[in-house]
């Protein structure tokens, strides 16, 4: 879709004028949408959040917020805000279409297909809907090929994962650089880590960090330590507390931590004795 930048600038100027004249106006949603379309998602997010503080029941603003998060690649948040928009303002065809797009990104092709097929029935000439259905078919074929391959390599694995299987699956998630499970004594139980350090070194370091924080929070009665997430400018380090060991996941900085958390939790839930 071609976006006329000068038209967007014009729209931004008009909306801003209205908002300046009346800071309580609901025009903030249109202003945020214009910034989003211009690619200025942070600005759009700021405007939308500020506006929603004054108009917490304005459905259109939640829809804009959902689109902003979608553009940022945070599909979980996009879905959450879309649901809020639907609960406040109800559904439209464009909302349904957007929901399908989010569900595709959230790896929920079945739900997305149901929505798209309904939309297709009432509007069979819509190219966007047709293209999304085609891409879903393509993804389905690719996914079934991957599942076949996984089943072959994990033939002993049925519905539950062993620790080793679970870590292997986590390791191949997008942008994950390494994963290790470390026992309470600091010894690495299992690991897949391609970095310059040995598993044992990572185990000892992660264990030291975890124990240090655990002891620290015990002193201030902060409760049981559940997880630690460290973000640096090139990577993220995520330490999860399990019953018998800690799991240390090392990722690139551009990983979507919400999406990763969702997938890792799903994998860990399927572990034996989890």
């Amino acid at each position: 879709m071609n976006i006329d930048v000068s038209e967007l600038d014009d729209r931004i100027a008009k909306c801003q004028t209205i908002l300046d004249a009346n800071p309580n106006s609901q025009i903030f949603a249109a202003l945020a949408e214009a910034y989003r379309k211009k690619g200025m998602v942070k600005k759009a997010l700021d405007i939308c959040l500020k506006g929603l503080e004054k108009h917490p029941d304005y459905g259109s603003a939640y829809l804009v917020l959902a689109r902003v998060f979608y553009d940022k690649g945070d599909y979980i948040e996009a879905n959450r805000h879309l649901k809020k928009a639907i609960s406040v303002s109800g559904r439209t065809r464009s909302v349904d279409l957007f929901e399908a797009e989010i569900l595709i990104k959230l790896s929920q092709p079945g739900k997305a297909r149901n929505i798209l097929e309904k939309l297709y029935k009432s509007d069979p000439n819509n190219e966007v809907i047709k293209n999304l259905l085609v891409s879903l078919d393509r993804e389905a074929n690719r996914a079934s090929a991957i599942i076949d391959e996984t089943e072959k390599s994990e033939s002993s694995l049925k519905k539950t994962y062993t620790l080793s299987n679970a870590l292997s699956v986590i390791k191949i998630l997008p942008r994950v650089l390494g994963v290790v499970a470390v026992a309470r004594d600091g010894i690495v139980v299992e690991g897949h880590f391609d970095g310059m350090l040995s598993h044992d070194e990572i185990g000892a370091l992660a264990s030291a960090v975890f124990d240090g924080i655990k002891q620290g929070i015990a002193k201030i009665d902060y409760g049981k330590l559940y997880e630690i997430l460290v973000e640096s400018d090139k990577s993220k380090l995520w330490i999860i507390n399990r019953v018998d060991y800690i799991i240390v996941i090392f990722t690139r900085d551009d990983v979507n931590i919400g999406s990763l958390r969702f997938k890792v939790n799903e994998i860990l839930k399927k572990m034996k004795n989890s």
Binding site: G195, L205, V209, I220, G223, L225, I228, V230, S235, L237
Partner: protein
């Protein structure tokens, strides 16, 4: 047109903390320097800023040791969760911001924290430029 807040305070650090405190679920926030001296704090539900600062400094040092061994730069932010709440720690120049929120607080708090960090950084650049690169 900029809206001018009537009760704008001189203490910009406190402004940033109060801005964080407006977010639903935030139980407390504190800014302290790398010596652990509290510069400003906002307290609710028994949040004790003086107790958090040494713990956080220790945590920060430990984590940066592992980051260094991993060949990474120092941590920009650290999040520690327990079943009831989560603490976010962010280093800003020679200062450290800590925010304690309950576990029902949504992840948009991160956006609010980012805005508070901007406020603190701007103030540091204006008033104490030697403390920030």
């Amino acid at each position: 047109m900029l809206a001018v807040k009537q009760d704008k305070k001189e203490n910009k650090f406190q402004n940033a903390l109060e801005y964080l405190g407006e977010y639903r679920g935030v139980k407390g926030a504190v800014i302290f320097d790398i010596e652990g001296l509290v510069v400003g704090y906002l307290s609710r539900d028994g949040f004790d800023a003086e107790i958090f600062s040494p713990l956080v400094l220790l945590m920060h040092d430990n984590i940066n040791a592992i980051m260094k061994r991993l060949g990474e730069k120092p941590a920009q932010s650290i999040v520690v969760k327990n079943p009831d709440s989560w603490i976010t720690v962010i280093r800003i120049g020679n200062l450290v911001l800590v925010v304690n929120a309950d576990n029902k607080t949504d992840e948009l708090l991160k956006v609010r924290i980012g805005q508070a960090v901007d406020m603190i950084e701007t103030h540091l650049r204006d008033k104490y430029p030697l403390l920030v690169k």
